[in-house]
């Protein structure tokens, strides 16, 4: 019995000791947790601060770069407008020269064509002097061969084009009839 009591007493002692140990341990754990939390908070703040610093630095760099680029663009634009203006002036000048050239060409071309026409007409009339009828007859025969060719193809035409083609052929004949009236 004594033994039992002894064991019970020991048990109580142990229980108390255990409770004290648990309590101590909890206190230690709480302390440590708190300590850790504080540390995390502090580190977080440090990281945040560091990030902010870095971000500020990057932003500043970007702003500087942007200013540089804008300056470059502005400079480029200025130069471009200056060149453009110069080129437009040159173009205007070229256009003026071209117009002068064109007018002069047209005048000369007309003169030249008139001269050629006169020469050809003169040569032709010399060559066909007294044979105008024969020349017109010959030209007509060639034209008539062409008319016959076109006429032969009339069967292949769709109906809506049929009358138009007949009118066209008839008008060619008519125009020759008028030309060849001697």
């Amino acid at each position: 019995m004594d033994q039992v009591n002894k064991l019970a007493g020991e048990n109580v002692e142990l229980k108390k000791k255990l409770e004290i140990d648990v309590k101590n341990l909890n206190e230690k754990l709480e302390y440590r947790a708190k300590k850790n939390e504080d540390e995390i908070t502090r580190e977080t703040l440090e990281i945040k601060k560091m990030l902010q610093t870095t971000q500020d630095r990057i932003e500043e760099t970007i702003n500087v770069q942007e200013e540089i680029i804008m300056d470059m663009i502005k400079k480029f634009n200025d130069e471009f407008y200056k060149h453009k203006s110069d080129v437009l002036q040159d173009l205007e000048s070229i256009k003026n020269q071209q117009d002068i050239l064109r007018i002069s060409y047209t005048v000369n071309e007309a003169k030249l064509l008139e001269m050629i026409k006169t020469v050809i007409t003169k040569e032709l009339s010399n060559n066909i002097k007294g044979q105008q009828s024969e020349t017109l007859m010959r030209i007509w025969i060639e034209e008539f061969k062409d008319i016959i060719k076109k006429f032969e193809k009339i069967k292949d035409l769709p109906p809506q084009d049929f009358n138009a083609r007949l009118d066209e052929l008839s008008s060619i004949v008519n125009s020759f009839k008028q030309k060849i009236q001697l």
Binding site: E134, I141, F144, F151, K155, L166, L169, K177, L182
Partner: protein, 338 residues
């Protein structure tokens, strides 16, 4: 608006050179009888129109030159012919009738089998009474009874218009019997009414070789001629003299110029015909369109050849025309035929 039926009749006038084809056509189409003989170069086209109440009959007369050098037997001349006069010279019937039978009639039968054919014995004014016998023999020997026969004289105008009218009448008869009775109802009475003639008046000019002989042929020839040959002016007498000398001098510049002018004139006269030929297609009923296009195409080819012949002739004449330095010597000292 009342619709008018257009009837186109392609009438060919065929025969040997110099038998009087052009004179017959000229007389019918209202032109003067030629004062000198000028061969037809290639072909000439004359037109005449009869305007009936419901129909317009347009006669396209193809006067085909009979000179061998212009190839009158060119097969294309014989295509799509509705009617043909085969003309021969009554004053010299032997050769011309044989040729008509052998060449012209056979070509027509081959190329235009439905063609209405009438023989015209022209120059009836030149048949002398002493030649009646030989004329009858020739006509009988050459079997001219296969088709109707009419004696004509372009010079005295005997039976010329009547022959053309009879031809149209026969063509209309054929048209009527060809299944177009409804479409061309009353066309024959209308035509006769326009002419103010009866059928007997038209057929009266026909020669029946079975009921005629050398003793009665003069009744078909002589009386009318005597009635009409009247030269009432100096110009007519001069013309008569020229007519009896049909051969012209190639050195006579005036004659050559006249031939050239005539050829160019004939060249130009075909233009209107070509235009109408093309535009006629528009008036063709749809069921006959392809046939009409083929026929027109063939006609255009013939006309093209004809233009070429005329141009060659003009160039040939141009080279024969004496140059101005010889003009004073060009009074026909050296004669020749054109």
């Amino acid at each position: 608006m009342k619709s008018i039926n257009e009837i186109n009749l392609k009438l060919a006038v065929l025969g040997e050179g110099g038998v009087g084809k052009t004179s017959l056509v000229n007389l019918y189409s209202g032109k003067a009888f030629p004062t000198i003989y000028i061969p037809t170069i290639g072909s000439n086209i004359a037109r005449k129109e009869y305007k009936l109440e419901n129909e317009h009959i347009r006669i396209n007369i193809w006067d085909i030159g009979g000179q061998r050098s212009f190839n009158p037997l060119n097969p294309s001349f014989f295509a799509n012919i509705d009617a043909a006069f085969l003309v021969f010279d009554l004053s010299n019937p032997k050769e011309s009738t044989i040729e008509l039978q052998k060449a012209y009639l056979n070509h027509i039968k081959e190329k235009s089998p439905d063609c209405v054919v009438i023989y015209l014995g022209n120059k009836s004014d030149l048949v002398k009474p002493e030649s009646f016998g030989s004329l009858m023999n020739n006509l009988n020997q050459n079997h001219l009874d296969e088709n109707p026969l009419i004696f004509t004289s372009a010079k005295t105008q005997d039976n010329v218009v009547e022959a053309f009218e009879l031809m149209i009448y026969k063509f209309l008869k054929k048209l009527e019997s060809g299944g177009f009775t409804t479409q061309f109802k009353n066309i024959i009475p209308s035509f006769l009414n326009l002419l103010n003639k009866k059928e007997e008046d038209l057929t009266r000019v026909l020669i029946n070789l079975d009921s005629i002989d050398s003793s009665t042929i003069h009744m078909k020839i002589s009386p009318k001629i005597r009635k009409k040959v009247i030269y009432d002016s100096i110009e007519d007498i001069n013309n008569r003299i020229v007519l009896e000398t049909p051969v012209i001098s190639i050195n006579n510049k005036l004659h050559l110029e006249k031939i050239k002018t005539d050829v160019i004139k004939a060249f130009n006269e075909n233009f209107k015909f070509i235009k109408d030929l093309i535009l006629d297609i528009k008036r063709t009923p749809i069921d006959q369109l392809l046939k009409k296009i083929d026929a027109t195409s063939s006609d255009l080819e013939v006309l093209k050849d004809d233009f070429e012949i005329k141009l060659d002739t003009v160039l040939n004449l141009e080279s024969r025309l004496p140059s101005s330095e010889f003009e004073n010597d060009s009074n026909g000292k050296k004669g020749g035929e054109v």
